[in-house]
């Protein structure tokens, strides 16, 4: 099996206040291509911190992160931006989309940053918007889309750059349960059809139920890791 994420002994200490906070404490994470993994745990257990580190948004205090064979542990911030562009798809809880661009333009944006040809962009963007069920919202701006629709555009955008994996930090936190399960179904389908690796954090039990692997964090440590 092909390893996508290989993280050893991840430790993150925040020193901003007088008392250091040990947000993540010696976590090992090993993800293979095609996995559909939920990261769960109570608020403050270190989910966001861990995702930021494996997503190349933040640096570790200790440990090592290897993404698809590339060690990003000590990569410079500027190199990381480029690395993220070509290797990682992101879906955040909110503020995912560029408000002044339409759904289509938002998805196209990352491909433009990658300097993909116009023909390739057109084809992939429409294909992805169809996959997430928004072919009729192509020219609509985010403010006119529902929360669920916005997250679906974000998923399409995350896949547009053909990343190694998609990382989603509480993507359903602002959605009603129907939209949440709809979004998860779309992600699960893309996971199967495109063999795209997903890792997402969540609180929501119904979302957890759709995952095929569930990693539970407590106090910055892995409390359980079960495959189903």
């Amino acid at each position: 099996m092909e390893v996508v994420i290989d993280a050893h002994n991840i430790t993150k200490v925040y020193n901003e206040k007088s008392i250091p906070v040990n947000a993540v404490n010696g976590v090992h994470l090993h993800l293979e291509r095609g996995e559909f993994t939920a990261l769960v745990g109570p608020s403050g257990s270190g989910k966001t911190t861990l995702l930021n580190i494996i997503g190349g948004l933040d640096h570790v205090s200790e440990g090592q992160v290897i993404i698809n064979g590339t060690d990003i542990t000590n990569m410079s911030d500027n190199k990381l931006i480029d690395f993220r562009l070509n290797n990682i798809g992101f879906v955040f809880q909110s503020y995912n989309l560029i408000p002044v661009l339409t759904a289509k333009e938002n998805v196209e944006f990352v491909m433009l940053l990658q300097k993909k040809s116009k023909a390739e962009r057109e084809k992939r963007v429409l294909e992805l918007l169809r996959e997430v069920g928004l072919e009729d919202k192509v020219n609509i701006r985010p403010s006119e889309l529902s929360g669920g629709q916005q997250q679906r555009v974000a998923v399409a955008r995350a896949l547009a750059s053909k990343p190694q994996f998609v990382l989603a930090d509480e993507p359903t936190a602002n959605l009603d349960s129907k939209s949440a399960s709809n979004l998860l179904d779309i992600m699960a389908r893309l996971n199967k059809e495109e063999n795209m690796t997903f890792i997402f954090s969540t609180h929501d039990q119904r979302v957890i139920d759709k995952a095929r692997r569930v990693i539970t964090l407590v106090d910055g440590k892995v409390a359980s890791d079960e495959k189903r």
Partner: protein, 404 residues
């Protein structure tokens, strides 16, 4: 696409962006207009000064320039005049007898320059007749007529036909006095000069000086301003012993006005732009800080710092590129319009009139000024964008995204 994003971004806060655009517009408009206004005013002043006072060129005995004594006469002035008139670049020329002295009325006395003129020629050069407000211009009729300025007439408490006495030195240093009758009262735009100059016939003055055809000064008006230096060179060759001065040399302060006008303009516009800079920085800083999460997201999904910097810069430049040309355009048209209609400042111009400024101003600005003004505006915008753009670059995506 970044260009499109930047363009659309500035319209997210329509009012705020419009305020910036309008302040750039109004700032530049005011700048252009004020510059054109003062240039129009100075230009008219210079025109007026050349056409009614200085003429383009003046010829004197070299000694006369320093101490204006009556003994420094221009010999051969008749043949000189003939030579000068032969040049077809010359529009008109006239000779003058000039003496410094005193004018006395029964009540008071005042120091004056006594100009002995050839009335008709003088009028061709300085249009003196047109400034007569009472009585009549000098002619060959009558005994010893004199023209005095209105302000001087008031000061001396004299009226038309009253007698005044002119006292001055002759060529040997003797004091001579002559009685003259006020034939006319004139008024020019420069009341200060009106008080200091009186006009009599050259022949009358020559007689009192006991010199035949005494001439101290020849004034030449040209058909075209641009020929000044050419004509001067030619006259210099012809009359090597005579001091020849252009109007710029006669009134160096006028040349200073012209030469320093550019600097004055750039300083003036610079101050306006500096004020605008703070407005632009403030607005763009607000635009960056309120979009911290969005910029964090853009960095997270792979938008490089260079591109983010470029995007913020573009947003600022767009604001300037909308507001700047608009301001210049409105400025251009208001200068054009007021430039042909004129602006009457007589309500405020009493003080200025004493210095010879006209009460109707025709604003004017050479079109070559508009490009540098545009470039200065864009440059200012770029400069003011740098700080907000750098602030955007300093954001760390992981922290930016966490911020609510």
């Amino acid at each position: 696409m970044i260009a499109i994003v930047a363009w659309r971004n500035i319209w997210r806060h329509k009012i705020r962006s419009l305020v910036v655009i309008l302040s750039i517009t109004v700032g530049l408009w005011a700048g252009v207009f004020m510059i054109a206004f003062s240039w129009g005013m100075y230009k008219q002043y210079i025109r007026e000064t050349v056409d009614t006072q200085l003429s383009h060129l003046q010829l004197h005995h070299p000694g006369f320039e320093d101490d204006r004594e009556v003994k420094y006469l221009l010999a051969n002035n008749l043949s000189m005049m003939d030579d000068i008139r032969k040049d077809d670049r010359v529009k008109a020329a006239t000779a003058r007898t000039v003496s410094t002295g005193m004018i006395s009325s029964p009540t008071t006395a005042s120091g004056v320059t006594i100009n002995g003129i050839f009335p008709e020629e003088e009028n061709n050069v300085t249009k003196l007749a047109s400034r007569i407000v009472a009585g009549k211009y000098l002619d060959s009729a009558g005994r010893s007529p004199v023209l005095i300025g209105k302000k001087l007439a008031v000061k001396l408490k004299v009226n038309l036909k009253n007698k005044i006495i002119l006292t001055f030195q002759d060529t040997t240093g003797e004091i001579v006095a002559g009685a003259f009758r006020v034939a006319g009262i004139y008024q020019s735009k420069n009341t200060t000069l009106d008080e200091m100059n009186v006009y009599v016939r050259s022949s009358d003055l020559s007689q009192l000086l006991k010199v035949e055809n005494a001439v101290h000064e020849i004034a030449i008006l040209l058909k075209d301003d641009s020929n000044v230096d050419g004509v001067k060179e030619k006259l210099k060759e012809k009359f090597p012993d005579v001091a020849i001065k252009t109007w710029k040399e006669l009134a160096p302060e006028l040349e200073l006005v012209i030469n320093s006008f550019n600097e004055y303009m750039y300083i003036f516009v610079g101050i306006i732009l500096l004020a605008l800079t703070f407005g632009i920085i403030n607005t763009m800083l607000m635009a960056v800080l309120e979009r911290v999460r969005e910029i964090g997201m853009l960095m997270a999904i792979g938008m490089s710092r260079v591109r983010i910097f470029f995007m913020i810069m573009l947003e600022t430049i767009y604001l300037a590129l909308v507001g700047g040309p608009l301001g210049l355009l409105i400025g251009y048209f208001s200068v054009k319009w007021t430039g042909s209609a004129g602006i009457n400042i007589s309500m405020y111009s009493e003080g200025l009139a004493a210095w010879g400024f006209s009460s109707i101003v025709y604003p004017e600005l050479d079109s070559s000024y508009y490009l540098p003004l545009t470039l200065m505006t864009v440059f200012t915008a770029v400069l003011s964008a740098i700080y907000p753009a750098i602030r955007a670059l300093r954001l760390k995506p992981a922290e930016a995204i966490r911020k609510i």
